[in-house]
Amino acid sequence: MAKTFEKGNVAIAKAAVAAGCKYYFGYPITPQSDIPEYLSGVLPSVGGQFVQAESEVASINMLLGAGATGKRAMTSSSSPGISLKQEGISYMAGSEVPGVIVNVQRSGPGLGGIAPSQGDYFQATRGGGHGDYRIFVLAPSSVQEMYDLTVLAFDLADQYRMPAMVLADAMLGMMKEPLDEWVPEPKAFDKGDWALGGASGRPGRRVKSLFLGDGELAEHNWRLAEKYREIREKAVRVDVQVPDGCELAVVAFGSAARIAKSAVDRANDEGRRVGLIRPITLWPFPTAEIREVAERGVPLLAVELNTGQMVEDVRLSSEGRSPVTFAGWPPGYLPSPDDVYGEIARRLAGGEKVA
């Protein structure tokens, strides 16, 4: 099939259908409403269900319900709506229910605005909900990746029985690019030993996060921690372009990485050696990969569309091995490649004291 020219949001919606997701629960919010709009038209025709919930709180809980029965399902929203889903996300993580959650980030805090932002990095990667848990956080940086990583999110969610979030933003959601709508091979995940479907020929089973027996909850938490450790080892995805001899490596994800890429290209065109590290999974974060670059002594520059969030993970990766600096643009002003180039140039000129 020839490439279509598609909006990032629509790419996510199409990927969900391609991945076999039949159930969508959501509440309108800009800049992601294309997702429910597209799916409300398409899901009925594939035997699925589109439910416009009364709120984001209801949506995430519908996802919990559908996910608990082993069915592939999705919800999507944008920043304030995602805040409202935090209790539900914590429940899903605690009850080990798979499901895909899309956050097309907009500006915050509060009502903020609808411009692109990466202000929800902490919320996504540290768990905005209560308790010790993690969710997958995938950060696409092109319309094609909006599609590819959504497909991946469904697989990861099922494989590890946990929520997976696609963390996009208003830029990636609203922009259009050519898209290859490939059809994934259906993967078989055996949910027979936990999914609910009626206690036919077996005792009733439960999907829950309440554990009151002596030490039971501690054990549950350690089991989750062990799962997360395994994921940190196995599931990291990152695009590292830091050839030998680099004077600086920019670390950026999502739309910031797009903008940074143009700036890095320009610096290299001008004869400097600047690398680019683009985390694709934000959780698990590519700590080892960045550490390796830090160990080579390459200074790191974190570029984000916020006032400094991922930079903490970069620092935690470097842990003093090489200097880490930050350049950020909170929402309300979208930096151009020139802006980012300016920051790179300042670093190369030694103009920035490193913390």
Partner: protein
């Protein structure tokens, strides 16, 4: 080649439509393209703009601070984006809503077109931005006009295909207006 253009105007003037159309035209011409709208869907009565980038390499940033071209359909858009045009670039402005004294630069090519009137003459006020696109494509030659025809049939839903000839007329009228003496420059 790396051609970036910002189109801007009131919400509802069809800005996103022409941006999308130009991008698809470029795509069908074999270029790498991005289309990035910046539209306050949650803000009625605001302004809309979009950036289209056409390139023979993969496009990095879909946003630009210093575009080659600008199509400005109202006065605030001229004021906001006009100064950002790279030297040697192109500004197409809507002379129906923007006075001739609104903006002046010597280092760009500035083309005023009475888009609203031309569109109304064609019988549909909504074609104003299509007129502007026609002028822009004529001036810059960034895509073949033939590609726009193809792109129209890809972009418009089947039932709107009957409107394709009218749209092409608007493109053509824009081209013609851009060629007119006096259509070029600040007057």
């Amino acid at each position: 080649m790396n051609h970036d253009v910002i189109m801007a105007g009131f919400g509802g003037q069809g800005i996103l439509m022409i941006g999308n159309l130009l991008a698809v035209s470029g795509l069908r011409q074999g270029l790498q393209v991005t289309f990035f709208p910046s539209y306050g869907v949650e803000m009625r009565g605001g302004t809309a703009n979009c950036t289209v980038t056409l390139s023979d390499r993969a496009v990095g940033s879909p946003v630009t601070s210093r575009p080659f071209g600008v199509i400005a359909m109202n006065e605030p858009s001229v004021a906001k984006f006009g100064p950002r045009i790279r030297p040697g670039g192109v500004l197409v402005w809507n002379a129906s809503l923007v006075g001739p004294d609104a903006f002046a630069r010597d280092d760009i090519r500035s083309v005023g077109v009475r888009c609203n009137e031309i569109a109304e003459d064609l019988g549909n006020a909504k074609l104003a931005s299509m007129v502007a696109l026609g002028a822009y494509v004529a001036v810059t030659g960034v895509v073949d006009v033939a590609r726009i025809g193809e792109a129209l049939s890809e972009v418009l839903p089947e039932k709107a295909h009957k409107l394709i000839p009218l749209n092409l007329d608007a493109i053509e009228a824009g081209r013609a207006a851009a060629d007119e003496p006096g259509g070029d420059g600040h007057g």
